[in-house]
């Protein structure tokens, strides 16, 4: 019966449609109308502490603002929308969209994303030209004569703002010449400008940090055609991406040396920054629907990435031999192939079957770079270094997922599944890893008010084809955790219930245990040994009255990991008494509370909320019984507490005008032993010259006075 219906419906539909049209003639198109809204006002912000971190991705500065501006003009078959947010601010965004119903859609977006890192970083360096950072010769000479004079050199340095901005400009066009066909074009231009803290070392005793320049542009183009009918789809897409770095190299002075030396180091360093690169790919994909609600889809992507930047000389140190390179450019090329196939079927209303195959091949074709010498930190020519030859990484991944789901009740499904991942790779300790995963899940939505979801998963990963030569000068019992033998068990459960309209609650819990097995070494394996993650969340939503909504949400997460190492020199390499362990442990409490009072007297809305995330992390070292190592001294606890409280009042003065007052309190408290001011008391730390980019607390009070005007 259903099949017959399916056959006859396409024939009947136009007839029925014609009947319907005859019954309800379309109304005359309304004249074009313009609507819009503008959101503007004044903002006052008072920040104590690290003001830059408070505004890391946003601009909450004092003064007038236009938070939102949007205008729409709508015609019978088209509409045009233009708008903007945070107009004129560092985090500004502008957009426009034109739609001609069923025919054309053009979207434009300009979005600026700031990354404000610090307002008060300090440096000895000045920018001579893009990518060239200099220190006054006199200062270099003075510090070379006596390293202790560096403290005097940095005293009284002025501050500078460390920030970068990402500017995205995007144009998307979708043209629909027929009902089945879409032609797509997309252009995205991303410009990044600014600076970022960057390690620029001359060795352990001469580790400098500089403000590395960022001046890059990425241009992404997509062109595609998609043909879709009720039962078949076909799509061909071209993606092109060009990355250009306008500062390909960084040259910086050595604060500790004024003149080059063949034995004592260089007066300056030089490193290659991010190379220009291109990536082109073509994707062909399609799908077809068949009998028994069977759906087959698949696609093939072939891609080629290239990078052929000029190679810098081995060193900038004029006192060292300038050995010519075996080739002038990188000549790097990666060819990618991705094949995806999916087959799902519902042979009856209760059974759902799915099979999915993914294949990905990344073939790095860069010729090996095997120059016989290497200059360490622009200071020392090394010819015996064993890792001089490059080791381009190629890999192949094949993954298959098989799942079967049986509908026990109309809204309850039990699924079992199996996956196998097989990866081949070059130049890593295991040539091949395979991972087998079995899983079962139960998902139910009973009567629309109760949702139960649970999943359990067990995975076992095994490596093979060990290449011991890649563990030269490492403990042979070391296994890199991302490809090591590993068992993983994960369980997650979620309960959501809204038995009455006035209350809804949700509880979820999850646990994941990872155990890294090096069977041949037992407990003596090195590296990450186990990791344990637990999470519990609970939330309640209350609607005690028509105009009142209350939400309370809490989450608690723990993470614990155990790793093992051996503090050894070449002479003590096998001395197990020098083994040590560290347990990384983190606990995080997250709260979110909200109260919404809507449409109170005089058309007033009130929203109050509080969010917090409180994290504490410990790193606890231990040594083996009978250790010859000194007892480790504990590291301080790392704490991060982020809090936000907000209250917003808005009055609808008329149907067009509303007035709003928003108050927001933000506080960040942090104790970070590595990047906190208690540790980083000065720029010239032992053997180092830093910028003073720190993790510090802030406390901010902000108030917005907002006027919204809507016209229509």
């Amino acid at each position: 019966m259903r099949c017959k219906l399916a056959i006859f419906l396409p024939i009947l539909l136009p007839v029925l449609a014609g009947t319907a049209v005859a019954q309800t003639p379309p109304p005359a198109p309304p004249p074009p109308a313009t609507t819009g809204v503008v959101d503007l006002g004044l903002r006052f912000t008072d920040v104590s502490g690290d003001a830059a971190r408070y505004q890391r991705f946003r601009d909450l500065g004092n003064g007038g603002f236009i938070d939102g501006l949007s205008v729409e003009r709508r015609g019978p078959n088209w509409n045009l929308q233009i708008g903007g947010n945070q107009v004129g601010r560092r985090d500004q965004r502008y957009w426009a969209q034109y739609r001609h119903s069923g025919r054309l859609k053009v979207t434009f977006l300009f979005d600026q994303v700031p990354l404000l890192m610090s307002d008060d970083t300090r440096t000895l360096y000045t920018v001579e030209s893009p990518g060239v950072l200099r220190i006054a010769d006199a200062v270099q000479a003075d510090v070379q004569a006596s390293a202790s004079r560096l403290a005097g050199a940095v005293a009284g340095l002025g501050t500078f703002r460390m920030e970068s901005r990402r500017k995205l400009t995007r144009l998307d066009v979708v043209y629909r010449p027929t009902r089945e066909l879409d032609l797509k074009f997309s252009l995205l231009n991303t410009v990044r400008e600014g600076t970022m803290p960057w390690g620029a070392t001359f060795g352990f005793s001469n580790a400098a940090e500089v403000a590395a320049p960022i001046d890059t542009r990425t241009t992404d183009v997509l062109a595609g055609v998609e043909w879709v009918t009720a039962n078949r789809t076909f799509r061909v897409t071209y993606d092109g991406s060009w990355f250009d770095n306008h500062v390909p190299a960084l040259v910086w002075d050595n604060p500790w040396r004024a003149v080059d030396s063949a034995t004592l180091g260089s007066s300056q360093g030089r490193m290659a920054l991010w190379p220009d690169s291109t990536l082109h790919s073509i994707t062909a994909a399609g799908s077809i629907r068949m009998r028994a609600r069977t759906h087959l889809n698949g696609g093939v992507t072939i891609g080629r990435g290239r990078q052929n930047d000029a190679l810098l000389p081995l060193t900038i140190n004029a006192q060292l031999p300038q050995t010519p390179l075996s080739r002038p450019t990188t000549e790097a090329e990666v060819r990618n192939l991705a094949v995806n196939l999916g087959l799902t079927s519902r042979p009856n209303s209760k059974l759902w079957l799915s099979a999915r195959l993914r294949y990905y091949d990344s073939d790095n074709r860069m010729p090996a770079f095997t120059d016989p010498s290497y200059v360490r930190l622009d200071q020392l020519v090394t010819t015996t270094f064993t890792a001089i030859a490059t080791r381009p990484l190629s890999f192949t991944r094949a993954n298959i997922d098989l799942d079967a789901s049986y509908t026990l009740r109309p809204f309850t499904a039990l699924r079992v599944g199996y996956s196998r991942d097989a990866s081949d790779r070059e130049n890593r300790i295991f040539e091949r890893t395979t991972e087998d995963v079995v899983r079962a899940s139960l998902d139910t939505t009973v009567f629309g008010w109760l949702t139960l979801r649970g999943i359990g998963e067990r995975a076992a990963r095994t490596g093979s084809g060990l290449r011991p030569e890649l563990l030269a000068r490492k403990q042979p019992a070391t296994r890199h955790f991302d490809i090591a033998n590993r068992d993983r068990d994960r369980v997650t459960a979620l309960v959501q219930a809204a038995p009455w309209k006035v209350i809804g609650f949700s509880v979820s819990a999850s646990k994941g245990v990872e155990t890294y097995n090096n069977a041949e070494f037992g407990a003596a394996g090195f590296g990450l040994r186990d990791a344990d993650t637990r999470m519990m969340t609970a939330s309640v939503d209350l609607l005690p009255a028509e105009k009142v909504a209350v939400g309370i949400w809490y989450a608690y997460e723990t993470y614990s990991a155990f790793q093992r190492s051996r503090q050894a020199t070449a002479a003590l390499f096998t001395d197990a008494r020098r083994d040590w362990m560290v347990n990384s442990d983190e606990r995080v409490h997250t709260w979110s509370v909200s109260l919404d009072l809507t449409n109170l007297r005089d058309k007033m809305d009130v929203q109050v909320g509080y969010d917090s995330s409180r994290s504490s992390a410990t790193y606890l070292y231990g040594v083996v019984p009978g250790s010859t190592l000194a007892a480790p001294m504990p590291l301080p606890v790392v704490r991060n507490i982020v809090e936000t409280a907000r209250a917003e009042f808005s009055w609808a003065l008329s149907s067009r005008v509303s007035l709003g007052l928003l108050y927001r309190f933000d506080r960040y408290r942090v104790d970070d032993f590595a990047m906190g001011p208690a540790t980083m008391t000065r720029l010239d730390m032992p053997g180092s010259l830093f910028l003073g980019y720190l993790y510090r607390p802030y406390r901010a009070n902000s108030a917005w006075l907002r006027l919204s005007y809507r016209w229509q």
Partner: protein, 320 residues
């Protein structure tokens, strides 16, 4: 690439192409029996006599639902792909004549709240079958019995676009993915809270060819490199775990560690680098008191700043 891997790769390619070819043949054979199309009902209420009554008739009683319909994209009559261009409300809910004749009778119209999740999905996908939704059928959400109407509401949406049941995309996802929502509130996070990103910036919740329903590319790194293009490479010197997956070291949903690392350095680096010298030193409180630059500030990255790959001939240790 070694001949061994290349050979295996070729075998796999040949296998895949063969599977695809056989599948295509099966498809060609089956194509004469089409599945459901626009307006067709994969789980149609049977025994439903009568015809269509038109939008005006429906909205004369169902005013709240009509408001949601009119304000949403389904009502764009000028677009031949919308319900409004076909039978309006009845495109999705079925012909209403028998319902109008006996309003109290059950089962005369298609009610999505009473349909199984997979029936709902199948119906919605009869129209929403283009690129964004093309991978739904074998997606993780489909496998978990998630329904379109778990996230979307045609008649009572709260969002300015996409007919979501919550005001924002992030709030919609957070209904179930509460662990991720909690991570986004940590001190180091992507600019999601600031409104510059959304869950859907990285994920395609309707399914994708990538792992973890990532929106672009076929690997984690291909997705990350759509924004972090400078780290795309290929580089002269590669750091293998970096090339395999950014998620080896970073937690993109948020972290309490600088640069959203899964654990802070030097402990993170020491999980793999177990050799001699400074790699395997205990960086404890004593080292902290001494201000060791292998522990303070950004630890290992103070010197190995090119940890994502170096293009300098002397960059094998990622210091140049």
């Amino acid at each position: 690439m070694s001949s061994r891997i290349r050979s295996r790769s070729m075998q796999a390619i040949v296998l895949v192409v063969l599977v695809w070819a056989v599948s295509a043949l099966v498809v060609a054979a089956a194509a004469s029996r089409p599945g459901p199309a626009l307006g067709q009902d994969p789980a149609a209420p049977t025994g439903q006599p009568g015809g269509y009554v038109g939008v005006a008739k429906c909205t004369s009683c169902h005013a709240p639902e009509a408001k949601g319909y009119r304000e949403g994209p389904h009502s764009t009559a000028g677009d031949p792909r919308t319900p409004a261009a076909a039978q309006g409300c009845e495109t999705c809910h079925g012909p209403g004549e028998s319902h109008v004749a006996d309003v109290g009778a059950k089962g005369r119209l298609r009610s999505f709240l009473k349909m199984s999740p997979r029936d709902v999905n199948e119906f919605c996908l009869s129209c929403h079958n283009r690129e964004e939704h093309a991978q739904w059928d074998a997606s993780m959400h489909e496998a978990r019995n998630v329904s379109c109407i778990n996230c979307h509401s045609n008649h009572a949406s709260k969002s300015p676009a996409m007919l979501l049941k919550e005001e924002t995309i992030t709030a919609t996802c957070a209904q179930c993915h509460r662990d991720k929502a909690a991570k986004m509130m940590r001190s180091r996070h992507m600019p999601v809270r600031e409104g510059k990103m959304e869950c859907t910036t990285c994920h395609n919740q309707h399914g994708s060819t990538n792992v973890r329903m990532l929106r672009a590319g076929n690997t984690v790194n291909e997705l990350c490199a759509t924004c972090h293009t400078e780290k795309r490479g290929p580089f002269l010197w590669e750091h293998p775990p970096v090339r395999e997956s950014c998620a080896t070291c970073h937690d993109p949903h948020g972290s309490s560690n600088d640069r959203m690392l899964v654990v802070r350095p030097p402990m993170l680096c020491q999980r793999c680098h177990v050799g001699t010298g400074h790699q395997v030193t205990i960086y404890d409180g004593a080292q902290l008191l001494a201000g060791s630059n292998r522990l303070v500030n950004r630890s290992c990255v103070n010197c190995h700043s090119q940890i994502h790959g170096s293009n300098h001939p002397s960059g094998s240790r990622f210091q140049r």
